[in-house]
Symmetry: C2
Subunit: 396 residues, 2 copies
């Protein structure tokens, strides 16, 4: 392709209320009718505490006013992506500001405490049906993810993962926090990892979930300092637990967590793994690992670095050029939409062209199995020109 | 001083069982007699799971065999410190491999769940009496810390802090995990911060406490990857909570957590604090802070970088030369004792002399109020020569 293939590794979709109703198993619809006003009220109150006054009202002016319909309207969505120059996308739940979140706590944060497991599963299945249908309207551009609240019931999780594969979804989203359940490296979850490897489904966490810090002065600052750690945490549980050793083809993506923490994490794990004065007292903790922790990271883990920061791009060698995937976060207000071209100008300029193409689209194409031949005509129509970013072509 | 002042910011002391008995309030002695064999058994079983076979037995050969008596024997302790070239020390609990830990879970990890608060307090008071007496035998060299299980009862914590000051202790050790209690930035703890600032007592966390990861393959690797994060965590709770804004003279030390994480943490917090596209949606979270988060870190936080890694020393500008304090971890096996001189040769060589002196002793002298004039004769007898480390003297 001459133009740049942009694949957003971080987009969101979901119908506005009560759109999930018809996708729920019938026996949960009455509970949904009762829960919905409560859920909306809770969301509104949380937003009052955490969002700047008038922010959402102001943001929803202009193009955004109609464009957010793209959270559930297929044609509008493609129009917005076209205008942003984006050919392909990976789709998470929680369309716009939580009004479009799946029922019963089956959204991004996916709590593992204080919810009714049966209902959360019902909400997850409703979203999975909806997103499978939504993606089926344009399988060339859309890679959808199934919500899998894996901690309640591993057999149920495996069934849902198989359902997701059969219905064209490309990966699953799991909760970042294990709460009081066995942690991610416990052997009981092995069937989940096996099934995802077997079916070539990509496992995800996404920024959002974090412990409850209470309503104290400073809570927002603490949250924005820590939230990436919580959703990235499963990575080192799976590395040390030997999950990637046993499942070399398993792919794990951590999305919207930035990437600045990656070099320190890899260096730290390798230091801990090595022969040091400090760990010689420890019982065997590594003979089940044939590679260094950073090697599992490089091979099995990708970073959905939404609206990638220039500093992370400049640090791409340490993070891993082959592990970084740009994303627009459409249609969330902290994303680059509807000004993706301006954001790219500011962050991806003056790079070796191959590196830019790798992070902007080729990594995601490979991880999620996008068909480049099918995307090419679209890219040549809507994709940015490499010259627009002053990219440096490879020397012959 | 001509020779180098070494102050170890991380040492440990405590009597072997049943040495704490006479320091307990009488009504808890029977409970101690009953709990002690259980505590020792639990420790032994944990060590079987986590320590290499025969490690402790082997380690306790040679000089270490008698030297570990320094965990409770004042003369032996000073002999061992002399041989290591160390003039002053900051003393935490948990003398040797947990046999010498305070009663009822009042040691380093200080759990906030699964213990009886009244007993943990009793254990803390017993240790505080013991350590106050132990330090009184050599106040020139020893800065002792009081154990303060602060989450159960703030008034009790304040009383214990005042007791500690009156009995010559120089700081307090608090639990790293708040469990189900209000988090560190909650207003209810304000009297603790006020009292420590008023009395010029240094607040500490120390590596050790972490959640229970269960007995799964990979648990040790996860623990050694995460443990520093857990004990460092109160730092950003206090920064964002405005504690250092309200208490500009408060000093907080995080000990035995390494220092490699400091630059990324400071940069991350400042990025979050700044004006970014990503945080403009957020409600006010910073108008109560007059400084940037990294500025509070630089002013109010020190890093007890025990057996400091050469890589951290080389990165001292980013970490903060004025915030790093070396430590020997005497008498723990992962520390530098009894080979401190060799460790210093390997890590502190070829530095500007002033930087080395700052990290090896002058920072700790200032933070804990060691009297240099009183230490000087000792230093000139036992301290390493600057030439031995090939330090680079300041130009005139």
């Amino acid at each position: 392709m001459k133009r740049l293939l942009l694949i957003s590794s971080d987009c969101h979709a979901g119908p506005p209320p009560p759109g999930y109703r018809e996708y729920l198993d019938p026996q949960y619809r009455e509970a949904y009718d009762q829960a919905l006003p409560i859920q909306l009220k809770i969301t509104e109150e949380r937003q009052k505490r955490t969002l700047a006054d008038g922010f959402l009202a102001e943001w929803k002016q202009g193009v955004v006013a109609t464009g957010t319909r793209g959270a559930w309207d297929s044609a509008e969505r493609n129009r917005q992506l076209d205008d942003d120059g984006i050919a392909g996308e990976v789709i998470f739940p929680d369309g716009v500001t939580d009004r479009n979140a799946p029922p019963f706590g089956a959204g991004l944060a996916m709590p593992t405490e204080g919810v009714v497991p049966e209902l959360q599963w019902a909400g997850a299945r409703a979203h999975n049906r909806w997103i499978a249908e939504f993606c089926a309207q344009d399988l060339t551009r859309r890679a959808g993810l199934a919500v899998v609240p894996m901690f309640w019931d591993v057999d149920e999780a495996v069934r849902e993962i198989r359902w997701a594969k059969e219905h064209g979804l490309r990966g699953i989203l799991i909760p970042p926090l294990f709460g009081s359940h066995p942690p991610f490296h416990a052997a009981c979850y092995e069937p989940i990892w096996s099934t995802c490897e077997e079916l070539d489904l990509v496992i995800h966490t996404h920024g959002g979930g974090a412990p409850d810090y209470g309503d104290h002065l400073g809570t927002i600052g603490i949250y924005i300092t820590e939230y990436a750690w919580w959703s990235a945490r499963p990575v080192w549980f799976l590395i040390w637990g030997g999950v990637f050793e046993r499942h070399p083809r398993l792919r794990f993506v951590v999305t919207e967590l930035g990437a600045s923490w990656v070099p320190e994490l890899k260096a730290l794990m390798d230091q801990r793994f090595g022969d040091t004065h400090f760990n010689k007292k420890l019982a065997d903790f590594r003979s089940h690992l044939k590679l260094k922790p950073s090697e599992y990271f490089d091979r099995n883990v990708w970073v959905g670095a939404s609206v990638t920061a220039r500093s992370d791009i400049e640090n791409r060698a340490a993070i891993g050029v082959g592990n970084m995937m740009w994303g627009s976060d459409f249609p969330h207000p902290e994303g680059s939409w509807p000004e993706t071209r301006r954001f790219l100008d500011e962050s991806f300029h003056d790079l070796p062209e191959h590196d830019a193409r790798t992070m902007l689209g080729l990594n995601a194409a490979q991880v999620y199995g996008f068909e480049l031949a099918k995307l090419e005509p679209l890219v040549e129509r809507i994709g940015p020109e490499p010259e627009s970013l002053k990219l440096v072509p490879a020397r012959r």
